[in-house]
């Protein structure tokens, strides 16, 4: 379970990016985080595994997000960043997918198994020795997902997963995300994807939760969408 209590975050210049966020996400839930640019979606995501920490409390499966618990938290929450070029920083896809498990302290042969499984989960079997630079946009995205799947997280956090993908790659990615058993927390502008993939929508506006409820109730309500600059 992810619990967020009174989370506040200020940008370095003093502006409030998140203003008293309170939130509970249960295991297995598929949640879409929607909101206009600059609403605070990405900032909220970065708090889920302790990249950013400020005032307030974030708890993952009962563990408070703090410096001590970071290794545990980072195994529980897999984070896929928006730009795959930032996510894929190694010289081969295999090395990148192995990065997380190595830091989790697994033995070499287990790491190899995890890499193999994660790559086959995202349908990139045999891509171990490919350079990330030479992958297509869709392949990069799926490889990014594999880099956290290999860590066997319970929660999968994705920032704008469909941004910049062509229709075919987008479809492939959505098909992949549908098959994953993990909880999904997806920050996105892609309302169609949210409708297709998630049961719950949390709407963020100016650092506050503006609406929280069933996906259909919120995303099919034009009034709410208008109010929050999403239409």
């Amino acid at each position: 379970m992810i619990e967020i209590v009174n989370l506040v975050f200020h940008y370095p210049d003093g502006r409030a990016a998140l203003d008293k966020i309170n939130l509970v996400i249960h295991p297995g839930e598929k949640v879409a985080l929607v909101g206009a640019n600059g609403a605070g979606k990405s900032t909220l995501l970065l708090h889920l595994n302790g990249i950013l920490q400020d005032e307030g409390l974030v708890k993952i499966n009962g563990f408070e997000v703090n410096k001590q618990n970071l290794p545990k938290i980072r195994s529980l929450v897999g984070m896929v960043f928006q730009n795959p070029d930032d996510q894929l920083f190694s010289l081969t896809v295999g090395e990148d997918v192995a990065f997380g498990p190595i830091y989790q302290g697994f033995e070499s042969h287990i790491v190899d198994d995890k890499v193999k499984n994660a790559l086959s989960d995202v349908q990139l079997s045999g891509f171990e020795d490919r350079h990330p630079f030479h992958l297509s946009g869709g392949e990069k995205k799926r490889a990014s997902v594999a880099t956290v799947l290999s860590m066997s997280p319970e929660y999968l956090v994705l920032d704008e997963p469909t941004a910049g993908l062509d229709p075919k790659s987008r479809k492939e990615l959505m098909a992949l995300l549908k098959t994953l058993p993990q909880s999904l927390i997806i920050a996105t502008h892609d309302l169609k994807m949210a409708l297709d993939l998630t049961d719950r929508v949390i709407l963020i506006n100016h650092g506050k939760i503006a609406a929280d409820g069933k996906t259909k109730d919120i995303l099919l309500n034009e009034e709410i969408l208008h109010e929050n600059d999403l239409l």
Binding site: L46, N49, I51, P71, R74, S75, G78, M79, F81, N83, D85, D86, Q87, F89, S90, L91, A98, F99, G100, I102, Y103, Q104, S108, V111, F133, T147, V148, M151
Partner: protein, 258 residues
């Protein structure tokens, strides 16, 4: 393009990285410490490094080319040809210009060139048969402080990132310039260069922060963890001892035969 590691499944590649690293250090030190003009000892050192290269199954031609590319720093030794003491050889270019080349200086120059080249081959052999991260992990285990190791491991990842950013920046510049950059003044060009470097630095910096966040999100702590970092076995210990003894013997031979 930065990765200099070349994959092979050779004895040298599989050897414990700490053994390789320590041996390379000792080898280079012994080579550097052997006195000028001890040619037989140089030959023995060369045999050792050639044996290593053959065992590594790396392409000798490739290592040779790489060693020659990095070799121009031997030219730093060039002035010795003229500054070292008598006796001199005299070269006359024409009546006005005569060049005096010192004979001891010549011997020293050639010695430095050969020694540098052998040290270079040893370093190249190490870096082509070992992943950079693996090398850092070995250096960490050998006692190199953690901050320095973290800086180096990030540096390595960021180098290719920076070249990436540099390329896209250069493309953006080229697509806007008419191609006649030579006509401007030095100051103008230096200014443009300064701004480009600033821009490049800033772009790389921002990207490095994002990459670092992605690394941290997957548990990165600053320690290089290379997964094949094996434990130091008795066999490794013996191999290292023999290798070091060999180098020391050749060094002793060099000093005695001086």
């Amino acid at each position: 393009m930065i990765e200099i590691y070349q994959h092979q499944k050779s004895y040298i590649h599989l050897l414990n990285t700490r053994v390789k690293t320590l041996f390379t250090l000792v080898f280079i030190l012994c080579v550097s410490l052997s006195p000028t003009g001890t040619w037989p000892a140089y030959l023995l050192f060369l045999t050792v490094i050639l044996a290593g290269i053959i065992l590594s199954r790396l392409s000798f031609k490739l290592l040779l080319i790489r060693s020659l590319i990095s070799l121009p720093f031997v030219l730093a030794a060039f002035p010795i040809l003229f500054t070292a003491p008598e006796p001199h050889w005299q070269l006359s270019i024409n009546e006005k210009i005569k060049i005096l080349i010192s004979q001891p200086g010549f011997e020293r120059f050639i010695s430095i060139a050969i020694k540098s080249w052998m040290s270079l081959l040893a370093a190249i052999l190490l870096s082509s048969s070992t992943h950079f991260e693996e090398l850092l992990s070995a250096l960490r285990k050998l006692g190199l402080p953690k901050p320095i190791v973290s800086i180096l491991s990030l540096m390595w990842r960021y180098l290719s990132l920076m070249i990436d950013e540099g390329r896209s920046l250069a493309r953006a510049r080229d697509s806007r310039s008419a191609g006649k950059s030579n006509v401007r003044t030095i100051g103008w060009r230096a200014g443009v260069t300064g701004k480009m470097v600033g821009n490049l630095l800033l772009r790389s910096l921002e990207r490095s922060e994002r990459v670092y966040a992605a690394m941290a999100a997957r548990g990165y702590t600053g320690d290089p963890l290379y997964r094949t970092s094996k434990s130091f076995t008795k066999g490794d210990y013996w191999i290292l001892t023999c290798g070091v003894m060999l180098c020391l013997l050749i060094l002793a031979f060099a000093i005695l035969s001086q």
